[in-house]
């Protein structure tokens, strides 16, 4: 696979303040990569380095194989970018704003631009300063999408959008990926990443702590298992099984967390008369929070 984005020990410091530290990342062509982390973790700093808005203190970043500090314009020609926070020209209408960005880029199909405006339900005749937060976000999204870029870099793209428009946005993202384009999506809304992304990376305190496929990442977190027996069972037997933790016995019910394979638990339960069995798959959010509970900052990358 072709790495559209690649970073090597990418570091950015703001004087004595931490930005990002030794970030090694690879995003492949045609995938939706979710970049997750809470506020201040370093998501936006990474994006700004990728687009050469700021320069790395150490390390390298490549987009389309081009060093970001060497020929950023060549990168920008093929990128669509939506910043997390932005403002545009107050006196221009939404339509004029889109026209201006289309002129800056060139090669925008007016029909496609119009279709995006229609799908996002944007009124292009109003001045930018008169738009609500959500409508401003729509202008930014159309400006980022209208030239059908090979790489979409979207920082918190659904902020301010209503659920219907969010659905439209995800549909457009799916179409882009279907055409072989790549999406790099930063978010702290985990359900959004879970819904849209093929792989996610988790950044914590400026360090990339985990990169994996969404489903594989989910497997890393413990399943919540509840076993209901017809009679009392020895809880200690289950607590000693590999991957089992936090066993709680309540009358005939055992509750526990199971990390990894659930097979030993099922085999142990089969030795007793089982009335009911419930296993809940962990959400990405639980995985995310579990990762944040870890002390180690080592990167685990399993998904390529």
């Amino acid at each position: 696979m072709v790495a559209i984005i690649k970073t090597e020990k990418l570091t950015k410091s703001y004087g004595s303040h931490r930005g990002i530290v030794d970030v090694d990342l690879a995003v492949e062509q045609g995938e939706v990569f979710g970049f997750l982390g809470p506020n201040g973790a370093g998501k936006t700093t990474t994006i700004r380095v990728l687009l050469d808005l700021i320069r790395p203190t150490n390390g390298k970043a490549y987009v389309f194989g081009i060093d970001t500090t060497v020929d950023p314009v060549a990168i920008h020609r093929r990128v669509g970018y939506l910043p997390g926070e932005f403002t545009l020209y107050d006196r221009l209408t939404g339509g004029e704003t889109l026209e201006y960005f289309a002129n800056l880029r060139g090669g925008v199909d007016p029909a496609y631009q119009a279709s995006l405006v229609e799908r996002f339900d944007l009124d292009p005749s109003r001045k930018f300063k008169e738009y609500s937060k959500g409508n401003k976000q729509k202008v930014g999204l159309v400006a980022a999408l209208q030239h059908k870029p090979e790489l979409l870099v979207l920082d918190e793209p659904t902020a301010g959008l209503d659920p219907l428009v969010q659905e439209t946005f995800f549909a457009v993202v799916r179409e882009a990926v279907g055409e072989g384009r790549t999406v790099f999506l930063s978010s702290h809304v985990l359900s959004e990443a879970e819904k849209a992304c093929d792989r996610v990376g988790i950044i914590r305190d400026g360090r990339l702590v985990m990169v994996d496929r969404v489903d594989a990442l989910r497997d890393l977190a413990a399943h919540q298992v509840e076993l209901r027996f017809t009679g009392l069972v020895p809880a200690d037997e289950f607590g000693a099984l590999p991957g089992v933790s936090d066993v709680v016995a309540e009358d005939h019910v055992l509750r526990m967390h199971v990390a990894g394979s659930i097979d030993p638990v099922i085999k142990a339960a089969a030795r007793f008369e089982l009335a009911d069995f419930v296993s809940r798959e962990p959400s990405l959010e639980e995985t995310f929070l579990a990762q944040y509970g870890r002390e180690s900052g080592e990167v685990a990358d399993h998904g390529r």
Binding site: R48, L51, D52, L53, I54, R55, P72, V73, H76, R77, V79, G80, Y81, P83, E85, F86, T87, L88, Y89, R91, L92, E96, E99, Y100, F101, N103, L104, R105, G106, G140, A143, V153
Partner: protein
């Protein structure tokens, strides 16, 4: 949980503020506004206090003997009504206080008035627009209380700055006075500060009242226009009878006989100004309390046609974005230029009757012949350099707003290189300067035609204002590109102020010629009479083009700010 409607579940009768909150101005709206004003109060106090001391120190140097003072006073009196458009009423001009009142009396009001206009127009309307006020308004405080605390804070910082200015006036008389009558009594210093403060609050109050309805910019523009127009109308009412009626409607005319630094008091005249200020401030508070928050403009202001918005590329966009500001400056300077040019011949004739006065003016503006219409207009251009400079500063601020507002991130994510952005924006600002220059030059030309003079020479001479502004745009782009855009306009303002003071004060203080030569405006010759200095033009072009090149180069090597 059951909630009892109509009654707060928890009541706090006493709010205890921490020492830290008190010290850092985070305890009340009043304290926070004071905290936010600390930089502006320092600048205003330094400007007014410093100018008072500099002028006070200069007078005994330029006019060291009683005979020289008497001669200067005689000239001021002989000049009569003609000079009132430039200076004020000549009362006790032979004393330090009288001279300051005559020659610089309005200058301090311009500083305080503009400060008050900008502060009061933005304290609520500006915060409402950017959303910060919503957090304050949704706290358990009535809107009237919030507005009142903000106004009270402005009154407090204005009082501090004016007290420093009054102290400087007293100190100048005590420290630099060399002749009888040079001492400035405390009563005179306070009387002058009170006049400055009340008029400044009246004009600031007008901006404060209009801001919730028209928005910050329009309110500040209208109040600022009335501040300057009132001064011109009042100054030339004696010469132009048509000016008399509108002039009488302004506080300038009401307080025309209150000249405290000259030892002439008219305390009663300050009462209607105080009432006007209070009425306007109360109206502003009520307007804020009753209207929708942030609904700034229900009155549609005319805009430029969409064709001027400039969507074809970065240069056109930068020009389109700066054009309304440039046209406003061009019209403002142009209207003043038109009036002066129309009156230039008759004013020059009056100056021609006083050879001694011409000699005095030559000590400040060497080589100027103000007995001719062209020479008089050249004097006008020298005074307008500072206005054109401030125009350039606003255009630089507009260029910088791409980065300071966060717009630049989206622009640079297109195939627009950093250097191209900086240079294109600079060229757009220069084109806006050109538009401003065309407007003001046409206005000056019309004025000259009305006076029956040659129009082409003063129109061509007006180009120097544009050249100077273009050079300053170059300085601003260089600073913004090389260091950061957030300081570019401030640096340009500093350069403009320093240049103006050097050009004006160096000859008067008989400082070495090389000091005077530091001012770019000293190198244009006298283009309003057809005498051009190529050196100044070349310097402007080099600064304009070189500044853009440096700015473009600088942008390549630094991070883009958020």
């Amino acid at each position: 949980m059951a909630v009892e409607l109509g009654r707060a579940p928890f009541t706090s009768t006493h709010r205890r503020l921490s020492l830290r909150s008190r010290l850092y101005g985070l305890g009340t709206v009043y304290a926070k506004t004071m905290r936010d004003s600390r930089r502006s109060v320092l600048i205003a106090a330094a400007l007014m206090g410093g100018l008072m001391l500099v002028v006070g120190a200069a007078i005994p140097t330029v006019y060291p003997t009683q005979a020289a003072r008497d001669e200067m006073a005689k000239l001021a009196t002989d000049l009569g009504a003609v000079a009132q458009g430039i200076a004020g009423k000549p009362v006790n001009v032979a004393t330090m206080g009288g001279y300051v009142q005559w020659k610089y009396g309005p200058v301090f009001l311009f500083v305080a008035g503009l400060w008050s206009i900008l502060a009061l127009s933005s304290t609520l309307a500006g915060e409402a627009r950017n959303g910060s006020l919503e957090f304050v308004v949704t706290s358990p405080m009535r809107r009237r209380r919030i507005a009142l605390e903000k106004v009270a804070a402005h009154l407090s910082v204005m009082t501090i700055a004016l007290a420093i200015m009054a102290f400087a006036a007293w100190l100048a008389g005590a420290a630099f006075g060399t002749l009888p009558g040079d001492a400035v009594p405390v009563q005179a210093a306070l009387g002058y500060a009170l006049w400055v403060g009340l008029l400044a609050l009246a004009f600031g109050g007008l901006a404060f009242t209009l801001a919730p309805f028209l928005g910050r910019s329009a309110a500040a523009g209208i109040a600022g226009f009335i501040l300057f127009a009132g001064w011109i109308l009042n100054g030339y009412a004696a010469l132009v009878p048509a000016f008399a009626v509108p002039a009488d409607l302004t506080p300038w005319a009401w307080t025309a006989n209150h000249l405290p630094l000259a030892g002439q008091y008219d305390w009663v005249s300050l009462v209607p100004v105080a009432i006007l200020a209070v009425v306007l401030l109360v109206a502003g508070i009520e307007g804020f309390a009753r209207r929708d928050l942030g609904a700034a403009s229900s009155i549609r202001t005319p805009g430029l046609p969409a064709a001027t918005h400039g969507l074809s590329g970065p240069v056109a966009r930068a020009f389109g974005e700066r054009l309304p500001t440039a046209l406003a400056w061009g019209l403002g300077i142009g209207v003043f230029g038109l009036v002066m040019a129309a009156a230039s011949r008759s004013l020059a004739d009056e100056f021609a009757k006083s050879p001694d006065l011409q000699t005095t003016f030559r000590s400040v503006f060497p080589g100027f012949d103000i007995s001719t219409a062209g020479g008089f207009l050249q004097l006008l251009v020298q005074l307008e350099f500072i206005v054109a400079g401030f125009a350039a500063a606003t255009l630089v601020a507009g260029w910088a707003s791409d980065e300071t507002s966060g717009r630049l991130e989206m622009l640079l994510a297109t195939p627009l290189a950093r250097r191209s952005w900086a240079v294109s924006g600079g060229i757009g600002a220069d084109l806006a300067v050109a538009a401003m220059t065309v407007v003001l030059a046409v206005a000056v030309g019309i004025g000259a035609l009305m006076a029956g003079s040659d129009a082409v020479t003063p129109m061509a001479g007006s180009i120097t204002l544009g050249l100077y502004a273009a050079a300053l745009v170059g300085v601003g782009v260089a600073v913004g590109g090389f260091f950061r855009t957030s300081i570019a306009a401030e640096v340009v303002t500093l350069v403009v102020t320093a240049t103006y003071l050097i050009d004006l004060m160096a000859p008067a203080l008989r400082l070495p010629d090389w000091v005077h030569q530091l001012a770019l405006t000293a190198h244009f010759g006298q283009p309003m009479v057809g005498q051009w200095d190529v050196g100044g033009i070349v310097a402007c072009l080099v600064l304009a083009a070189g500044g853009l090149a440096v700015g473009g180069w600088g942008m390549r090597r630094r991070d883009v700010a958020r």
